[in-house]
Symmetry: C2
Subunit: 146 residues, 2 copies
DNA sequence: GCCTATAATGAAACAGATTTTCATTTTCAA
DNA sequence: TTGAAAATGAAAATCTGTTTCATTATAGGC
């Protein structure tokens, strides 16, 4: 169901999994393929339903376990959306942030400004030591504006 | 258990609830009082436990329903933290953002810069119409740094 | 290419959080 | 004070996510 538009990235992920000591199994390949090619964040159950079209014996437990592996390696990240808190997506890199369509869920990766000036000022004013930040934008994608 | 340090805000919330057509019941008053005075985000079960100290007959279902009402009116907002995705907090206003202590959960509200330049650039580049944004900082509060 | 140790899988049981249902209680306007 | 309607709380039902364990599949050694 998911067209493999980017075999290279799929192969990269599989290579990294193998290097990290994981075995490349059929269920793993199916899940990786779907995630690499998904234009939007997917929840475990969605991923399970999509995966079973390719590999009917797939179990939901395997989906959870595979997501854990991929998250541990930094290949996917969890996204918190209004419609669900356990949605997974190809991970952002460096200063990339997410822009999500509130209607169809489509995800756009954008390079954010350097916000360190804001963070430093806030740290000083509050007495906190800042460890990490989280910036996400929500809106309507070009298709969903009509 | 929660000292009423700001009766005015509690009264404001209750007034807004009444104006919106909701009845002011004992369970509602207890829950509002706890939320207004909490220094950190609370989950439904925590709120339930705290609430029962003041009003032992309180039911968990009522906590859920009350949180829905308060969220609908924009008085509280859901916060997504590592330790839980269904935590509720007094809502931010205007350009306020959240700074959360990853150890004790203490919340600090800070006025963020105006990020509209970033948003406009992103909107233009992506074709999205941006509806809302989400900026949260995580760190250690002054007390938890030792 | 075949064997084998062991990692990975999937079914079922389990645990928790959230929602629904419905009889009873409480609020508030007349 | 009274009664219609909203709100409540107990119990049952749902939905997610986790644990357990017997079976299957992978990858390295031969």
């Amino acid at each position: 169901m998911s067209e493999n538009t980017d075999p290279t990235l799929t192969d990269q992920w599989l290579a990294q999994l193998q290097t990290s000591g994981y075995r490349l199994t059929q269920p793993l390949r199916v899940i990786v393929d779907i995630l690499v090619n998904s234009p939007r964040a997917l929840g475990p159950v969605e991923l399970y339903d999509l995966g079973r079209k390719e590999y009917p014996r797939l179990g939901l437990v395997t989906v959870y376990r595979t997501l854990d592996k991929l998250e541990e390696l930094g290949l996917v990240q969890r996204v918190h959306q209004i419609g669900g808190c356990h949605m997974y997506l190809r991970a952002t890199q460096g200063h990339e942030h997410l822009l999500l369509c509130t209607r169809c869920g489509q995800v756009c990766y954008f390079k954010g400004d350097d916000l360190s000036a804001l963070f430093n000022a806030t740290a000083e004013a509050s007495g906190f030591v800042i460890q990490e930040h989280w910036l996400q934008l929500y809106g309507l994608c070009a298709n969903c504006q009509s």
